[in-house]
């Protein structure tokens, strides 16, 4: 916690102002930690803090209660200053049971505050968490400020009037804990009370129980004399405007729907359920009133084929998946390259290879996205930087796909997909229209007659008289599109497909540098590492270091000026959540001796990790 001036006592205890706080809620996967975290997030956003979140949950639907693999957590970083990551280390850990304590303790800095639900520290639970002695009693927590509260008991006392069975009232204890944290960080209860009213409409007893638990936790903070101080986090100086909280996957959903409206063209999304991409399917399935068609296909290959068929039929065809699914889509994506149809593939990357760590993040599908097909098959590859950027990037993906008649792969990841941040809502009028053109002059029509500027072939749609034509995976003759095995034609067509994608570099923004445009060290990033690396670079510059940062949203083609930018620095460091895929590309493309900072732990970078690496290089 970064503390500032002591404030006068306003309520029962002294109130202290802090700039930024990181809280981690951890409990059993049935304890409602994701809900608790998201309510805390929403309330913090509403009162004007900047926020960033990191949900972390087990791959198992419901691991045995109280076990180590069953621990679910939600970390939120909120502050009055620029917040770009969910925070390096928690200032506060709320541990609802021994397993949660055991799993998360190694992440805590010395002196961190640990709130434990003592009721859960039974011999049985301690055994499940593989504790040999009770950590609350054996002195092993001496480095931390441990706050022991019998949350289950206190919650049960608060709800003793409730007519609900005990099992149900016990489930309200997460709201009791939330209420306590609201008191501790001076948050209003109203946003969550509003939410409870909406969520349990028609279930008055449940609504009442949850609201009572929340208030009881808050009051306990006030009168329980457990805390000597409580804290205030001022509003961040956030640009004025209308905001909503958005996760990367929600932003992809909204981006797809927005693209459909901006292109005045219906959207068809085909997908096979896969973590962490399924939310995009769930989200889009709710927009049928806007003409969105969603197909839950039999497999990943089918999803890609359905999206491609929809693109042929004149829709915005899009599919979404995660790494193993992208591997399956490869053959069909090659067909998209050959038939030059506008189709968008969203890859919410997760840790690999194979099934890997399904619920953990990684950015190791870059080379798969770029090259994972037979033959020379260039596709456009884009990557969002933040959860909210997922919205803009998917609109950009469709703009490029439609304008150039190319498949576009968007590389999000689990960290962006599930993480959330406040998003300043754009105005529809300020968003770029997507210009969809279908040929209307049958005379002289040829399916592979290209626009000389973009090299795009015409998008002639079945159902339009006079444009009947055949396309397919076998090499096509330049212009006529007839099946063609001529060696010179294959050379020409291969080069045309490549040149078309390379040419898009003229239609995208140049690489922009944060910090000095020349200097000792350049940090080069892509995708979800943006927040941590950007913050680390800022801190390094504040310490007087000559550190620039370039973040790539376009991975193929690269921005035109990238080579020149890279050559402005003594050293180039590429932090990635993989073993060096972008570094590999940069080295081969620009013949620059780029260094890597590579973390494949299923977890995003921490600011201090990057800062330490910067120190190593300067």
């Amino acid at each position: 916690m970064e503390r500032s001036a002591e404030q006068p006592k306003t309520r029962s205890g002294p109130i202290e102002e802090v700039e930024q706080v990181v809280i981690r809620f951890a409990g059993d996967s049935g304890d409602g930690m994701q809900l608790t975290g998201s309510q805390f997030t929403h309330t913090s956003a509403v009162i004007g803090n900047d926020i960033s979140t990191l949900p972390d949950y087990p791959a198992e639907i419901r691991a045995p209660a109280g076990s180590l693999p069953g621990v679910s957590s939600f970390q939120i970083h909120f502050g009055s200053t620029d917040v770009q990551t969910p925070g390096d280390q928690p200032d506060v850990l709320v541990a609802m049971n021994p397993a949660a304590l055991k799993v998360h303790l190694p992440d805590l800095p010395r002196n961190a505050r640990v709130l434990v639900n003592t009721d859960a520290f039974t011999p049985q639970n301690l055994k499940k968490a593989l504790y040999e002695s009770n950590p609350l009693e054996d002195g092993s927590l001496a480095d931390f400020q441990v706050v022991k509260i019998p949350i289950t008991t206190l919650n049960a006392q608060a709800l003793k009037e409730s007519a609900l069975p005990k099992k149900q009232t016990d489930r309200c204890k997460n709201f009791w804990a939330l209420g306590l944290l609201y008191w501790l960080y001076d948050r209003p209860l109203e946003p969550t009370l509003d939410w409870i009213r909406g969520q349990f409409a028609g279930k008055a007893e449940l609504a009442e129980a949850n609201a009572t638990a929340l208030k009881a936790g808050f009051v306990y903070g006030e009168v329980g004399e457990v805390f000597t101080t409580h804290y205030k986090v001022r509003k961040a100086s956030i640009e004025p405007g209308l905001y909503r909280k958005v996760s990367g996957n929600e932003a992809l959903v909204l981006g797809c729907v927005a693209a459909s409206l901006l292109a005045d063209t219906p959207l068809l999304y085909a997908s096979y359920p896969i973590t962490p991409a399924s939310d995009v399917l769930h989200g889009l399935a709710r927009y049928k009133h806007l003409g969105v068609r969603t197909v839950q296909s039999e497999d990943e290959i089918a999803a890609m084929g359905i999206a491609l068929g929809a693109a042929f039929a004149g829709h915005l065809g899009v599919t979404g998946t995660s790494g193993p699914g992208l591997a399956l889509k490869g053959e069909m994506l090659g067909l998209a390259v050959m038939t030059e149809l506008p189709v968008v593939v969203l890859d919410i990357q997760r840790a690999g290879p194979s099934t890997g760590l399904p619920t953990k993040t990684e950015q190791s599908d870059l080379l798969l996205g770029l090259f994972g097909r037979s033959g020379d098959s260039p596709v456009v590859v884009l990557a969002p930087a933040t959860p909210a950027d997922c919205f803009a990037i998917v609109i950009e993906a469709f703009r490029i796909a439609v304008k150039y008649m190319v498949p576009v792969v968007v590389l999000s990841d689990g960290y962006l997909g599930n993480g959330a941040e406040p998003w300043k809502l754009p105005r529809a009028a300020d968003l770029p229209k997507i210009d969809v053109r279908h040929p209307n002059e049958p005379k002289g029509f040829m399916p592979y007659l290209r626009d000389p500027r973009t090299l795009a072939r015409p998008w002639a749609v079945p159902g339009t008289p006079g444009f009947e034509h055949r396309i397919g995976g076998i090499e096509k003759a330049d212009k006529s599109g007839n099946v063609n095995y001529d060696p010179a034609n294959h050379q020409r067509m291969t080069e045309l497909r490549l040149r078309k994608v390379e040419g898009i570099a003229g239609d995208i923004p140049e690489a922009a540098v944060e910090g000095p445009s020349q200097g000792d060290l350049l940090l080069l990033t892509w995708g979800s590492t943006y927040g941590a690396v950007s913050q680390a670079a800022k801190k390094a510059r504040a310490m007087g270091r000559s550190v620039g940062h370039v973040h790539l949203r376009y991975l193929n083609p690269f921005p035109k000026n990238l080579g020149d930018v890279l050559r402005g620095y003594e050293k180039v460091l590429v932090p990635e959540n993989n073993t060096g895929q972008l570094r590999f590309l940069i080295r081969s493309r620009y013949l620059i001796d780029a260094f890597g900072m590579n973390k494949v732990a299923g977890q995003p970078f921490k600011i201090r990790e990057v800062l330490a690496k910067i120190e190593e290089f300067i």
Partner: protein
């Protein structure tokens, strides 16, 4: 194209300018010719036809049709067709596939397309061999089939395409043969007019790698039975034999000696239970004649109809939303 112009369509309108490159004598020619002959009579304008195919000899089909066409990849034609038909239910979407393409590499997609009752026509050219890869056994080749990849005989049991389609609850399942052009045209026309998935197995002779595979069906009057809706199942040169149901199974009976047509199984295309159609589809030499014709034809809402209905209902319930309203759909707050 207007309906008037479509009314004047002829076979020639469906012939593309591409040179047909199947082996001389291939059964595919007959299927192509009958398709081109039947389509002008359906009343759908030419630009509304889309032919989608996978890989194999049969899958060159779209190039020879002067309609919209998409030659996709091995086994995946049903997926691309699903995208096309779901996006635009107004199109008449046809899938040309083979026994290997449809039932081996593409078996999964075929299953799901049929069980969804997607409004597409699936023409499965069954020559019981891999032609384009030069003569390996296919999923419909018989046990013991000697080929280049099974020199001692195949040890794979074959799949029966129509049984597969019926097991997937196909709403239109038929079988025909390339050499009987009239029958082929009749079945194609029935398929074209079916609403929902029309699955047509076409026995198709591969002159190079499996010549004469269906001789037993073609030669000899008691080797095939032509199913006619509402009529008892009779076959033989003098219509002297029939199919009777006994103890839940089928048997061949000879008419006379107290067995009359009234004892025979009456074919019902719209029988709700596909069980009898399944038994008919399995009939094979030497004990039974092979059943040709429409095994099953029932009406059931199609996939695309239900998709469109949900869109219509959602529009009615939620009304139109502009982009600004869409973005503000979540819990918003104002920073001043």
């Amino acid at each position: 194209m207007s309906e008037e112009r479509s009314a004047a369509l002829s076979r020639k309108d469906f012939v593309s300018d591409q040179e047909v490159r199947w082996c001389p004598g291939c059964g595919d020619y007959s299927i192509l010719a009958q398709t081109q002959k039947v389509l002008p009579s359906i009343g759908i304008p030419r630009e509304k036809y889309v032919f989608v195919s996978g890989i194999g000899c049969s899958s060159r089909f779209p190039y020879y049709m002067n309609t919209y066409g998409f030659h996709t990849i091995h086994g995946r034609a049903p997926t691309v067709a699903t995208g096309i038909k779901t996006a635009n239910p107004d199109l008449s979407v046809w899938i040309a596939t083979g026994d290997g393409d449809g039932l081996s590499i593409g078996g999964n997609h075929l299953l799901h397309t049929i069980r969804r009752n997607l409004g597409v026509k699936i023409l499965l050219f069954n020559n019981r061999i891999y032609g384009l890869t030069k003569g390996q056994y296919s999923p419909t080749s018989g046990l013991g089939k000697r080929t280049r990849s099974s020199p001692m005989g195949s040890v794979d049991y074959p799949v029966h395409p129509c049984c597969f389609a019926l097991a997937a609850d196909g709403t239109f399942v038929a079988r025909t043969i390339d050499s009987d052009t009239k029958h082929l045209a009749m079945v194609l026309e029935r398929a074209a007019r079916h609403e929902g998935t029309a699955f047509v197995e076409i026995y198709q002779n591969c002159v190079i790698f499996n010549d004469g595979a269906f001789d037993s069906v073609e030669k000899g009057d008691d080797r095939a039975v032509h199913l006619v809706d509402g009529e008892p199942i009779v076959f033989g040169a003098n219509r002297e034999k029939g199919i009777r149901r006994k103890d839940g199974a089928l048997e061949v009976v000879t008419l006379g000696n107290g067995v009359g047509e009234e004892d025979l199984l009456v074919h019902r295309e719209d029988e709700p239970d596909p069980g009898i159609a399944f038994h008919l589809a399995r009939m094979d030499a030497p004990s039974f004649p092979v059943a040709l014709g429409v095994l099953r034809s029932v009406r059931r809402p199609t996939y695309e109809e239900m998709v469109e209905e949900q869109i219509r209902r959602a529009r009615e319930e939620k009304g139109p939303v502009d982009l600004d309203a869409l973005l503000r759909g979540g819990e918003c707050w104002e920073i001043k």
